[in-house]
């Protein structure tokens, strides 16, 4: 029987149906848990990018704001839905006043699309906090863009220095080796062995900040 023409085909078919069935049941039962975690992580990152400004305006410490998630998120953070603006936008509101904005941005890395959250000042010119939400870079090399020292280089940086330009409004930054110390404000340390990924992060920020500034400054919020 095992040597017949049909047996291997039928056998393989039964195996595929059996294992695909098990995986489908397992995925269905875990789906909501996985989604809840993804939403939770995303909202925590939004709060993280806005926490410093909320802290300044409310007097509450940054650690306290982060520890009080999800209450602090519901209290201070609001998602905005803007016509013709193709990014997710969140605003931090303290005592009725907007203190900062947070944008979901995307860019091309070496191996796939990177997704990040960046908070800006209310004039959209300065990056407050920047965090990578999702990336597909090489573990141990490009994936190190999620390390704190690399991300913190972008904190509180003026990105829009030429507000009157109709095309490119962003300030010029350049990378130096990871082991060197920056000598000017325009120098940032790149990740060793991940030149393309480091450059991609800067390119993404430059492109997205340009888009955000040019689109948001004319909107009535």
């Amino acid at each position: 029987m095992k040597d017949s023409f049909w047996f291997p085909i039928v056998f393989m078919l039964i195996m595929v149906i059996f294992f695909a069935g098990i995986l489908a049941v397992m995925y269905r039962t875990s789906e909501s848990k996985i989604q809840d975690y993804q939403i939770d992580t995303y909202q925590r990152t939004v709060l993280k990018t806005l926490a410093a400004k909320i802290s300044e305006a409310s007097g509450q410490s940054r650690a306290e704001i982060l520890a009080n998630y999800p209450m602090s998120y519901e209290r201070y953070v609001q998602e905005l839905f803007l016509d013709g603006f193709e990014r997710r936008v969140f605003q931090a509101i303290v005592a009725g006043e907007v203190v900062a904005y947070c944008f979901e941005i995307k860019g091309n890395g070496l191996w796939g699309t990177m997704q990040a959250l960046v908070s800006t000042s209310t004039d959209f010119r300065t990056i407050l906090v920047f965090d990578i939400v999702d990336q597909k870079e090489t573990p141990g090399l490009g994936a190190r863009i999620q390390e704190e020292w690399f991300l913190q280089q972008f904190y509180n940086r003026l990105f829009v220095s030429n507000p009157e330009s109709p095309t490119d409004v962003t300030q010029n930054y350049e990378f130096i080796a990871e082991t060197q110390s920056p000598e000017t404000d325009q120098q940032l340390r790149r990740i060793t062995g991940a030149t393309i990924t480091s450059d991609s992060v800067l390119k993404m920020l430059k492109h997205e900040l340009n888009y955000i500034y040019n689109n948001m400054r004319t909107k009535e919020l």
Partner: protein
């Protein structure tokens, strides 16, 4: 062979990493932290044991011409089960392990044991072989990560054991350090166990 002999042979005497030099990629990649190594080790133990058991259970009905396809399907299914379980229940660790859980499928040890042992031996023996091989693999991962985490971060399983005076060795956090440690481990075991026996 008795069950005990099968287990000891798979875990130590014919250890897949230090004796057969299999599964090296993941051994080098995930050993920067002990917790990552432990979870990876548990994932491989589960996948190996269950895949061996399943392959052995159906060995008498599996047509020879498609056996590799069947083995790959079974191994891949168990790896996806581990991946979904981690994503749903241990998401932080799943995130840290990143693509490596999925890459258990490509771990040579799994196909090696399926072809060399499970497809020719009874289910219980194959299950014990899977546990033993997985444990041997996890043991090596933990040994390497112990050295890397201790010197690279001054901690063990995330708990700081070397005080503020300790200066972390950056090389230990980077992948090349795993090469040196694994090479040293193989050298020590070869010298003091296999060669001494000869």
């Amino acid at each position: 062979m008795t069950k005990k002999e099968i287990f000891l042979t798979a875990a130590f005497k014919e250890n897949s990493i230090w004796r057969q030099i299999l599964g090296i990629c993941s051994a080098l990649a995930v050993t920067n932290l002990m917790l990552n190594s432990l979870i990876m080790g548990l994932g491989v133990i589960f996948t190996l044991a269950m895949a061996n058991l399943t392959i052995s259970l159906i060995r008498n009905w599996t047509p020879r011409s498609i056996r590799m396809m069947v083995q790959t399907l079974i191994i891949a299914s168990y790896v996806i089960i581990v991946d979904i379980f981690l994503k749903a229940n241990l998401p932080e660790i799943s995130k840290q392990l990143g693509p490596y859980v999925g890459l258990i499928i490509t771990n040579c040890i799994l196909m090696g044991r399926a072809e060399a042992f499970a497809s020719q031996n009874p289910p219980l023996d194959s299950f014990v072989d899977g546990i033993g091989t997985g444990l041997g693999y996890a043991l090596v991962l933990l040994l390497i990560s112990f050295v890397r985490e201790l010197f690279g971060f001054g901690s063990i399983f995330g708990f700081t054991v070397l005080g503020d005076w300790w200066i972390n060795w950056n090389i230990m956090v980077m992948a090349p350090s795993a090469f040196f440690i694994l090479a040293l481990l193989i050298w020590i075991i070869n010298t003091y166990y296999y060669k001494a026996k000869v």
